[in-house]
Amino acid sequence: MSARKIITFENLIFNLKKYWQKKGCLIFEPYNSEVGAGTFNPATFLRILGKEPWNVAYVETCRRPRDGRYAENPNRVQQYYQFQVIMKPTPDNIQRIYLESLESLGFKLKEHEVRFVEDDWESPTLGAWGIGWEVWLDGLEITQFTYFQQAGSIDLEVIPVEITYGLERICMNIQSVSSIFDLKWNEEITWGDIYRENEQQFSQYNFEESDPERLLLLFKEFEIEAQNLFKKGLILPGYDYAIKCSHIFNLIEARGVISVSERAKMIARVRALTSEVARLYLKK
């Protein structure tokens, strides 16, 4: 191992923010409702629609109820952080800009292998898909790199690039630790100090204590609320409820109580909402 200086989790975030700020990105903040990925943040989902240039970077808290492991698995948790970058239009030298961001974190390309592994990203609930890769650093997946082609079931007029860093993964490599819970957040406090209890409680909730019937009810109520708001032209509050539907769906799925075809139907219902948002947003 090279004698890389240990970068704390918080400093990793500072470094990335500084790097992308220099590249012309607006430094934004996370969304304030449960989302499965930074893509749901209106700073991505809505801003990638239409022709206006948009460059932004932000941290997003991601909830993946199904991935919880009661804090017993060193690599799997039901909540973690992404660092999300959107550049629209995509700069021609974006691959280099991204690779140099890794160098700025201390990964000299001469001393590592960075591999772009074919992986076309798709979010059925957002009606969005793109062409791209998982980026592997010495075998570890650290980034999803995507050229969006469609969002809200609409062909994009200007192609944005979405770069999503898995912050914990990268930091584990930097700090040479094999458990996410051992990551140093700062010099004194670890990731586990902050989130171990959280992982335990949420895993118990996600897998055991959530009430699937009530969740289904909530799903329906949120869906109606979104539809009503759309009718009144209130796209943004409506989008809030579409996002809530998406999260509720993830919770229901974690319980493993829906069949394949029911699952497909619920996804289609969320997609109908997000597609409506996209359509109305562009009409404005």
Binding site: D92, K110, V114, R115, V117, E118, S178
Partner: protein
């Protein structure tokens, strides 16, 4: 002589498209050079994960010159009464840049015309390439493409540079917002600085310095050597084949090698888990039987330690996951997994996975008559075969491909019979087209029944395949059914099994839909074996989708196909077919109504053949049956020569039709020969042959 380099540089390409893209490009450039008569000495195909191209040495600067004959106006319109060239002739001369002295008169079928030999000026190679190369790039086709800038050009990944260098001159054609230049790009692990080339011959070496081995064959060789050398050092044998080698080759630009280890305790995992885990990590090659792996990576030697440690760490985490799932599954036991099948809906309105296994068990009855088939083993296997879908292992995305295989291990660990476990493992085979088939009889039967359940289920759920739409892989399933029946020589009709199976679904799906679908599939299967479509058509007449029997009948036909006698027989049967086509009920033959010897003779000979054939059918001696039928040819011909079937006397006519029908039915027991297509005649002609 000069050289030419074309290189299209892009961000990392889907490995599975790469070789074809480079081959298509090279081929089309070659066609262009031939069509445009541009001489060259050698042409080399280039590809790495970030570029495709072609390097052509010894290129002519110009096309080969060419003379063509051009035809002008008819002779009578060439000069006016004063002997001056007409406007028509002048126009011709001007159009082709000719002088009066160039022309001569030629005789053609339409009369005498003006003609001239015209020298077409040789165009410069760079002009041709400037216009034609962009068209070639645009002509490349891919399974999936994208757009990345406002040019809206489609390609699998963004094109980021183009080298088009003819001798020392960049071609400067424009494509996708780029201009063909003299700059290539190195491997990004080495540098971001463009590589400038004065001339194409510098390409291979300059790029090598930039961390790119552009020649795929050379790179493949290096990869192979590096793996083998490292394996030797590790005192083991690497587990790879040519496919894995090419997959690695398509994902990199410059091969270097690292190696690492995993905890020996993971060797306790079933080998399939180990291999699947390693394979998911891309360029890892297992050193057989050891806890070591070799990693081919795309970077600099300096990276070796980081790469080795990085991959080892990821591998460890993945193996830990797998180990955890596997241990949990063993603890849980297959019985509990089977319980879970009662709760999971398979397809909406088609019950749970458990219901599915109950259907499978019931359908096994159809196979009871087969020799050497252990029904107890089979029933048990059918009961358990879907249980592993509820194991931790198979529920993981990375390991879904291990369905069946995990069932094998979990059944064994629960103390089930080895044969039961094998049938479970084999019942998903073939998992893809070209995959191996179940070897055990029980595995074969279970696989067939499962696939019948799958395709009927899809039909009932409204997921019939149309065009390229076949989300349930219904076509592949049906094809596999025939493949397994045939490979195991199961002498069983499929149709009754399928019809019975519908009852298990309590569904009244239109039988004709299924027959139509199965017909298409069995035809495809037999044609893939090399039988001609008309042969297949002829034997399928009454086999009820007994594919094993159909194949033997095809063989029977084959043996006689080229004989002159056979052709006459076929012509005869086509006649008979046409005579009988509009007769609803030909009735029974009344021997007392025979008038001519040929009638009596044909009937007697028919009876003889019928008697001799009867014992041959159960033994499937179709060559001999065919021989017997062939022996009737003379008698049939004689009958038609001497007897008028459609005679005035209605009673006689009816009896003669009955006789014709009797003979026809004899043939149909074997095959409908009227469906055989005779050379020079399309099968439609069936209709036209009127008697």
């Amino acid at each position: 002589m000069i050289d030419f380099l074309l290189e299209i540089g892009f961000e990392d390409f889907p490995p599975s498209y790469l070789n074809k893209a480079a081959s298509d490009l090279t081929e089309r450039v070659e066609v262009l050079f031939k069509k445009e008569r541009i001489f060259y000495r050698t042409m080399r195909k280039i590809y790495t994960s970030r570029r495709i191209g072609v390097l052509i040495l010894g290129v002519a600067r110009k096309q080969k010159a060419q003379n063509v004959e051009v035809q002008g106006p008819p002779k009578k319109f060439t000069y006016d009464e004063n002997g001056k060239p007409t406007a028509m002739l002048e126009g011709f001369l001007n159009a082709h840049n000719l002088k009066l002295s160039d022309i001569k008169i030629v005789r053609t079928q339409k009369g005498e015309y003006v003609s001239a030999i015209k020298a077409i000026p040789a165009k410069d190679t760079d002009d041709i390439l400037y216009y034609e190369i962009p068209k070639i790039i645009a002509s490349l086709e891919f399974p999936k493409t994208m757009v990345w800038n406002q040019e809206k050009i489609r390609f699998p990944r963004p094109i980021r540079w183009i080298v088009g260098l003819l001798d020392r001159k960049p071609l400067r054609f424009k494509y996708a917002g780029l201009e063909a230049e003299r700059y290539s790009m190195p491997n990004f692990h080495f540098s971001f600085e463009p590589i400038r080339m004065e001339k194409p011959r510098e390409y291979i070496n300059f790029l090598r310095h930039g961390g790119v081995v552009v020649d795929p064959n050379e790179r493949r060789k290096i990869i192979k050597n590096r793996i083998n050398e490292r394996a030797k050092l590790l005192k083991g044998e690497p587990a790879y084949d040519e496919n894995i080698l090419e997959e690695i080759n398509c994902a990199i630009e410059y091969p270097d090698v690292a190696s690492g280890e995993f905890e020996p305790e993971f060797l306790k995992l079933p080998e399939e888990i180990l291999k699947t885990t390693l394979k998911a990590l891309g360029n890892l090659v297992w050193v057989k039987g050891t806890n070591k792996f070799i990693c081919i990576f795309n970077g600099r030697r300096k990276a070796e330690d980081n790469v080795a440690q990085g991959y080892a760490r990821v591998l460890k985490a993945r193996l830990q996951d797998a180990f955890f799932y596997y241990q949990n599954d063993l603890k849980q036991g297959i019985a509990k997994m089977q319980e879970a099948t009662k709760e999971m809906v398979w397809l909406e309105d088609l019950g749970t996975i458990y219901d599915k296994s109950i259907r499978l068990i019931k359908a096994l009855k159809n196979f009871e008559g087969l020799t050497d088939l252990n029904m107890d083993v089979l029933k048990r296997a059918a009961e358990l075969c879907k249980a592993d879908l509820f194991s931790n292992m198979v529920r993981e995305k990375e390991f879904t491909s291990l369905q069946g295989i995990m069932g094998y291990y979990y059944a064994r660990s629960a103390g089930e019979d080895e044969k039961v476990a094998i049938a479970i493992k084999e019942h998903y085979l073939p998992a893809f087209s070209g995959d191996k088939l179940p070897r055990s009889k029980e595995g074969a039967v279970l696989s067939i029944v499962d696939k019948i359940d799958n395709f009927l289920g899809a039909f009932i759920a409204g997921q019939r395949p149309t065009g390229s739409y076949d989300p349930f892989g219904v076509r592949r399933n049906a094809y596999a059914i025939f493949n397994i029946f045939d490979a195991h020589n199961f002498d069983i009709e499929l149709l009754p099994i399928v019809v019975n199976y519908l009852k298990l679904y309590k569904n009244d799906l239109d039988k004709n839909l299924i027959i139509e679908f199965l017909t298409e599939r069995i035809e495809r299967y037999l044609e893939d074996l090399g039988y001609r479509y008309d042969e297949v058509d002829a034997v399928l007449y009454n086999t009820n989708f007994n594919v094993y029997d159909a194949r033997l009948r095809c063989d029977g036909l084959r043996g006689f196909r080229d004989k002159q006698e056979f052709l006459q027989l076929v012509i005869g049967q086509k006649r008979v077919h046409n005579i009988l086509k509009n007769i609803k009920d030909p009735g029974q033959v009344d021997t007392t109504l025979f008038e001519k010897p040929a009638e009596k003779n044909l009937y007697q000979r028919g009876k003889e053949v019928e008697e001799k054939m009867a014992p041959l059918f159960p033994e499937k001696k179709y060559l001999e049956i065919m021989k017997l039928l062939l022996s009737l040819r003379k008698d049939i011909d004689k009958f038609f020569d001497e007897v008028l079937v459609m005679c005035e006397d209605k009673n006689l006519q009816k009896n003669r039709l009955a006789l014709v029908n009797y003979v026809h039915q004899l043939f149909l027991k074997f095959a409908d020969l009227s469906r055989i297509v005779i050379e020079g005649e399309k099968d439609k002609n069936n209709e036209k042959q009127k008697t």
